[in-house]
Symmetry: C2
Subunit: 149 residues, 2 copies
Amino acid sequence: MNRLNDPGDPPESPLEDALMRTTFQVAGVLSAVGAEHNLSLTQIRVLGILRDRRVRVTELADYMGLDKSTMSGLVERAERRGLLARRKNPEDRRGVDVVITEAGLELAAVMYARVRELLGPAFARLDQPQSEQLAALLEVFLTPPTPNA
Amino acid sequence: MNRLNDPGDPPESPLEDALMRTTFQVAGVLSAVGAEHNLSLTQIRVLGILRDRRVRVTELADYMGLDKSTMSGLVERAERRGLLARRKNPEDRRGVDVVITEAGLELAAVMYARVRELLGPAFARLDQPQSEQLAALLEVFLTPPTPNA
DNA sequence: TATTGTTATACTCTATAACTATA
DNA sequence: TATAGTTATAGAGTATAACAATA
């Protein structure tokens, strides 16, 4: 919006601006839903990733851009709550696989349904062709880098 | 368009899916850029908001969906680093306004430029009409609720 | 009485460094 | 030697509860 210092500071484009606001809005909804279940945004993402995958601790840490020690703690606390479990990796005896439990799956389903509910009004402002187009454009935007949950 | 409880766990729509991934991607870039300067995503957002506004502690907390005590701590740590400052509110002697400093503005500019740099390749995959269309569709999506930074 | 902001407390999240057990 | 994971530590982020100052 405003540019107090100009040097090498290109004005934000409408797209950049909209993208930032969208990010904070969606992240805000995710955080709010997580808070209803005492889960952080990070934990929500972990559950989301593990819904259909069994991954090793380090793999998960790299995937999310966190240190392995951070992931150790995240897994430990989620395991204590019965949402995840650790399994020995059958091929590498150093390795630990992380899997989601039934309770974890159920909680993930509840939360993602709630996210859909909260985001519903925003989605409702787009008609079918617009939704498809937005999804398609976001896919282009996302294409190669950083696969996410 | 929204499926609340459909016990069979409604499949995510392509749009929902793309939106989640976009959120985590952009948030990831913001976090990474913040990490280069020892700033959290939250602090980045605070700086972003204060770039063109002077707001009270509680107002800022409500705006970001955080408790006022949390905001107190955030402001305190950012102030200690010289990025923000507290000012007495002239109209209400209980009130404290938070303002960004010159150093804070400079750091914000540096970080947002870096974000643009990192997101550049993704933007580059969209031609001009596509960029405009994506921005327009996101605006529709964002329209009424939760104003953000 | 109600509101504004801070502080005390108790967690979670996070990275760094050091450690172990494998490989 | 190198990698996988854990633990110890320290600091930031977060909410709840209690508080002082002001309204």
